[in-house]
């Protein structure tokens, strides 16, 4: 029994031969009233017991926002006007997704490893089986990527990770201003010849704080009071402006 355990440990050892020691500029992102995006610094070192192997080491960093289901619609010309016709449900698409690598993704990551770990942007999106009459369902997930890449919600940053002496790595990822709340899964992969030799996972907490937090909670927990408060503000502002202008005219 003990031998078997020892054998298992030995077998598992090559996987653990290189380990990531990670640092983050912040493991919490606070969304305040004046939040305007944030730069996240991801840095770390590779801890190893054995000497450095001959093949060059590559590093991949991914950050994924919370996943939400989506409905993607396609427009078609019908009777002279453009209308939504086909719709496909996307089961899971992260609200934010960034992949930073030391080199071109095709070279640092083998296809099979991408399938297993879901690293590249297209692999991060899961379609629901589209109904058979929808033409080319794949184009719908491509559309999601295209639209979100355009507003910087999805980022592919090839060559953005700097790696020194195969040991120290760092990269910075720009978080956009339209960030949603949630746990942002951060993954670091070390690859050799496209194969993952080690991986590390942590989460970054993105939360509203202060006034933002208070208003959001109130709107969900006390919607009646929140609604009445909104109306009271509106009425007060309307009255205030009218009174101020009246004074201006007299004075």
């Amino acid at each position: 029994m003990l031998r078997l355990l020892l054998l298992l440990c030995l077998a598992a050892l090559p996987l653990r031969a290189e380990e990531v020691v990670l640092g983050l500029s912040a493991d919490e992102v606070a969304i305040t009233a004046t939040f305007d995006g944030s730069e996240l610094l991801v840095f770390g070192a590779v801890k190893r017991e054995a000497p450095i192997a001959d093949e060059p080491l590559e590093v991949i960093v991914t950050i994924a926002g919370p996943s939400v289901p989506l409905t993607v619609r396609r427009k078609e010309k019908k009777l002279g006007i453009w209308v939504n016709t086909d719709a496909v449900d996307v089961k899971e698409a992260p609200s934010f997704y960034a992949v930073a690598t030391t080199g071109p993704l095709k070279e640092v990551l083998a296809q099979i490893e991408d399938l297993r770990h879901r690293i590249s942007i297209p692999k991060a999106i899961r379609l629901v089986g589209a109904s058979p009459h929808v033409k080319s369902p794949q184009s719908f997930s491509e559309a999601v990527i295209r639209i979100r890449k355009k507003n910087r919600s999805y980022q592919l940053l090839e060559g953005a990770v700097a790696l020194d002496q195969q040991t120290l790595f760092r990269t910075s990822i720009q978080l956009p201003s339209n960030l949603t709340e949630g746990d942002y899964a951060t993954r670091i992969f070390l690859t050799r010849r496209g194969y993952v030799v080690s991986q590390f996972e942590t989460t970054i907490d993105v939360r509203k704080v202060g006034v933002e937090r208070w208003l959001f909670n109130l709107s969900r927990q006390q919607p009646m009071i929140y609604g009445l408060m909104s109306l009271a503000i509106a009425i007060a502002a309307g009255w205030g402006a009218a009174a101020a202008f009246q004074m201006l005219r007299r004075g």
């Binding site: 619609r73 209308v83 939504n84 979100r148 339209n178 929140y226 109306l231 509106a234 309307g238 202008f245």
Partner: protein, 304 residues
């Protein structure tokens, strides 16, 4: 200065919102329209999620209408009695409209219907007002006295009521019907309904233009307050931070607009409103006819 909106979950420029609010507020004070039919597409354009834009817009209209109506009260250009009758019809219509809206939603294609509604109604109303005001201006130029209001079938209906401020003695049935119809359309199209109400009051009920603006604002306050509460309690989509930024500009704009409005002759006021309505209609029609640059759109999940 960037401000992160807690409900919309986007960051936007505060001064941009103040400016937008001010611009729409001026129009609101001048014409007695809430301005929702202009503001909502503008908010979509700067990246506010549609559901939040529609709900928050309702809240902002409450503020600018209230500010505008106070100025009209001082000038005694609000027909409270007519406003109340229209409001009763309007609330009933709005409740009916929500039922119709949900039914259409279950059939799908509700977006298209809303847009077609906009194009058709804006087109008809805008063209009618434009031609009518043009004729009125030509008549006053050539020195002919404007025709006295015709005595038509509307005056034969029962339940007559005297609307002193408007100088009308008509049955309450036509205003009630106008209120209901506008309420239905307002609920379907997600606006206060001022741009339909104003022409309806002028052309169907024969009210004087000066009274129409204040009276329309008066009833819009209640309809949009009702809508705000509905959205806040069912969809949680009212963003109070967005509303505050919009309404600061809006209330100031409404005051300015009311003053501009009282200086302009009624015909010119109407022709300006007609041009604006036609411009929005034209823009929406173009969107339907021209191939969009992005054929795909992302919506929230769960049913379609």
């Amino acid at each position: 200065m960037q401000i992160y909106l807690p409900i919309a979950e986007v960051s936007v420029n505060a001064f941009l919102l103040l400016g937008l609010g001010g611009l729409v507020g001026i129009l609101s004070g001048m014409f007695g329209v809430g301005g929702g039919f202009l503001m909502t597409p503008l908010l979509f354009f700067i990246g506010i999620p549609p559901a939040v834009a529609v709900a928050t817009e309702a809240n902002q209209i409450v503020a600018s209408s209230f500010s505008g109506v106070l100025a009209h009260f001082r000038r005694k250009t609000v027909d409270l009695r007519m406003g109340t009758v229209l409001l009763i019809g309007g609330l009933a219509g709005a409740a009916l409209g929500v039922v119709v809206f949900n039914y259409l939603k279950s059939l799908g294609q509700v977006d298209l219907l809303v847009k077609l509604c906009y194009v058709v109604f804006l087109g008809i109303i805008g063209a009618m007002m434009f031609i009518e005001s043009l004729n009125a201006i030509r008549n006053t130029r050539s020195g002919r006295a404007p025709k006295r209001k015709k005595h038509n079938w509307i005056h034969g209906l029962p339940l007559k009521m005297r609307f002193r401020t408007s100088g009308l003695y008509i049955s309450v049935i036509p205003p009630l019907i106008v209120g209901v119809l506008v309420g239905i359309l307002a609920a379907i199209m997600g606006v206060g309904g001022g741009f339909i109400m104003v022409p309806a009051m002028i052309y169907l009920l024969g009210m004087p233009t000066k009274v129409v603006v204040g009276t329309s604002l008066f009833q819009i306050i209640f309809v949009t307050a009702f809508t705000t509460m509905l959205h806040a309690t069912t969809n949680y989509t009212v963003d109070v931070a967005l509303a505050v930024l919009l309404l600061i500009g809006g209330v100031v704009g409404a005051q300015v607009g009311t003053r501009i409005g009282t200086r302009l002759p009624a015909e010119q006021l109407r022709i300006l409103l007609a041009v604006m309505v036609l411009a929005v209609c034209f823009k929406l029609a173009l969107d339907l006819l021209i191939m969009p640059s992005e054929l795909y759109s992302i919506g929230t999940g769960g049913g379609h």
